[in-house]
């Protein structure tokens, strides 16, 4: 064996050519250019988009969308946690009730549920506790309340399943360790199990929150003045349909992008004691 055969330091390194990437890039850019060109020459008055992007009615619609998404999600998360814990309870009545809730409200389409809540007055003209108080259902079941109940309750059914998966993901030994230091069931759930389950729960709930932002657009059919409803109200008057739909789409993009960034932060927080060591177990 001669030493020169094993000498490579004087040679020039020629990097691998990524032809596939180049071809893909060319194709994608071409398609993009065609789409952009189509929209540029299409019958869209972009100056109307710019003009209506920040008008007060749209801004108010945006705020209503965000408020409804947050409140419906809060209702959904609270119901989800309660029903997930009920579902895993030893008490068969509680567990079957939770099962029934998830079954019912997950099965019926959200739009249909909104319409049912909004039209509740057709079934119960008045609601209240007999002998104590009573109100006209029409007065109480405003578009806001109907949307909040409809969206929140159906979200609770989905979130309950996510929370249940999170609770089941926590090791049996954690439950036992909490019990042996004398914790009651509720203390154990609050202090030991939930904080660990959050790591599993947060990503899908973040995902569902984003879904909820878009789901609020359904409330436009029951006259709740969220952003799509506001956009529609404007184009009913000025007929700039596509321009105003694009305005609404832009705002959904903005809100969802911000939420995605926040979700990343929250996920990082709940992975305390796990990612810290650099493993992803």
């Amino acid at each position: 064996m001669t030493d020169t055969v094993y000498q490579i330091s004087h040679l020039t390194l020629v990097p691998k050519r990524h032809y596939g990437r180049m071809i893909a890039a060319v194709l994608v850019l071409t398609v993009l250019a065609i789409v952009i060109h189509a929209f540029a020459v299409g019958q869209i008055e972009w100056n109307y988009v710019a003009e209506f992007l920040t008008v007060p009615v749209i801004m108010k619609g945006l705020v209503n969308t965000i408020v409804m998404a947050i409140l419906a999600m809060v209702v959904g998360i609270v119901l989800g946690i309660v029903f997930a814990i009920m579902r895993l309870s030893d008490n068969p009545v509680l567990s079957m009730t939770a099962l029934g809730y998830v079954w019912l409200f997950r099965a019926i389409p959200a739009l249909l549920q909104l319409l049912l809540w909004f039209n509740l007055a057709l079934v119960f003209p008045t609601i209240g506790i007999p002998g104590l108080f009573s109100v006209n259902t029409v007065d109480v079941m405003t578009p806001f309340v109907a949307a909040l109940l409809g969206l929140g309750i159906q979200q609770g059914a989905f979130t309950a399943e996510v929370v249940r998966a999170g609770l089941l993901s926590v090791d049996r030994g954690q439950y036992e360790a909490a019990q042996t230091i004398g914790m009651t069931r509720l203390q154990m759930l609050r202090r030991i199990v939930m904080p660990q389950a959050m790591r599993v729960i947060v990503p899908p709930v973040g995902n569902e929150f984003i879904g909820m932002v878009k789901l609020t657009s359904l409330a436009s059919v029951i006259q709740y003045a969220e952003i799509l409803h506001s956009a529609q109200n404007i184009y009913y008057a000025n007929s700039r349909v596509i321009e105003l739909l694009i305005v609404a789409a832009i705002w959904y993009l903005v809100v969802v992008t911000i939420l995605s960034l926040i979700q990343g932060r929250i996920e990082k927080y709940f992975s305390k004691g796990v990612v810290a060591a650099g493993n992803t177990k």
Partner: protein, 262 residues
């Protein structure tokens, strides 16, 4: 606790005809044993013999199907009123568990809490102790198990032996009258077994009542007062550790000990 009503040498733990089955499988077929205060009892036996199940019955991680267990003179899991036995509710069971510490094979430290937070969790949340005082005591306990420099790290940064020593400190923080060890060294790398056994030896010498399910026959011989051999859900033999391990009376015990020593 009814400790005041007990005479000084009354047994701390009494098990009378304890039975447990999982479905049709009988895991405990009538266990009778009593453990005086301050005793260290080792339970040895092949896997599946029911020794861990028996330990878990003492602090109600498993419900017994027959017989009874008393800890500190108090009936475990039930309240006696006249001729009736009332099952305890969640909060009452939790109260009974407070005075019984447990150390698990897989440590079971809370991964989302630091070492100190793990130790003060029970005292602060369950015993409602002052947080600053609980911290001081936690640090004293960490000194005792030799891990004071690890007080602010998360469990994931600790070796198995260190995690198990923290788990022992966590159990001690509840000021238990009884400590249960469920194969505390079985999940450890061989070179880490010694540090955990040293802490346990120190505890034994301090007069803590301990029931230890273990495969460490050396620890049983040197540290425990008595050793019990369990097989197929029965307590086959129990007696002074040195004599049980050196000259077992039962054939099954002899077979097990010679198999372990091979």
């Amino acid at each position: 606790m009814d400790m005041q009503n007990l005479s000084a040498n009354a047994p701390l733990v009494v098990a009378a005809d304890v039975r447990k089955h999982f479905g049709s499988l009988e895991v405990l077929k009538g266990i009778n044993v009593s453990v005086p205060k301050g005793e260290v009892l080792c339970i040895i036996g092949p896997s599946g013999s029911g020794k861990s199940t028996f330990l878990r019955c003492i602090n109600q991680l498993e419900r017994i199907d027959g017989g009874a267990i008393w800890v500190g003179g108090e009936l475990v899991g039930f309240r006696r009123d006249g001729n009736n036995l009332y099952e305890l509710d969640d909060a009452q069971i939790a109260r009974q568990r407070r005075s019984i510490g447990m150390v698990f094979q897989r440590f079971n430290l809370f991964p989302h809490l630091t070492v100190t937070e793990n130790i003060i969790e029970g005292p602060v949340q369950v015993l409602r102790e002052n947080k600053a005082e609980a911290k001081d005591r936690a640090h004293a306990l960490l000194e005792r198990v030799g891990l004071i420099d690890k007080r602010d790290v998360y469990p994931v940064h600790l070796s198995g032996g260190q995690q198990q020593r923290v788990a022992i400190a966590r159990a001690l923080a509840m000021r238990p009258q009884l400590l249960l060890f469920d194969e505390p060294t079985s999940a450890l790398d061989p070179e880490l077994v010694g540090e955990v056994l040293n802490v346990m030896r120190d505890l034994a010498h301090s007069g803590m009542t301990m029931i230890v399910v273990t495969h460490e026959l050396g620890f049983a011989r040197e540290v425990s007062h008595r050793t019990a051999f369990m097989d197929q859900g029965q307590l086959v033999e129990i007696g002074d550790s040195r004599s049980v391990l050196a000259s077992p009376q039962q054939a099954r015990t002899r077979e097990f000990i010679s198999a372990v020593h091979k």
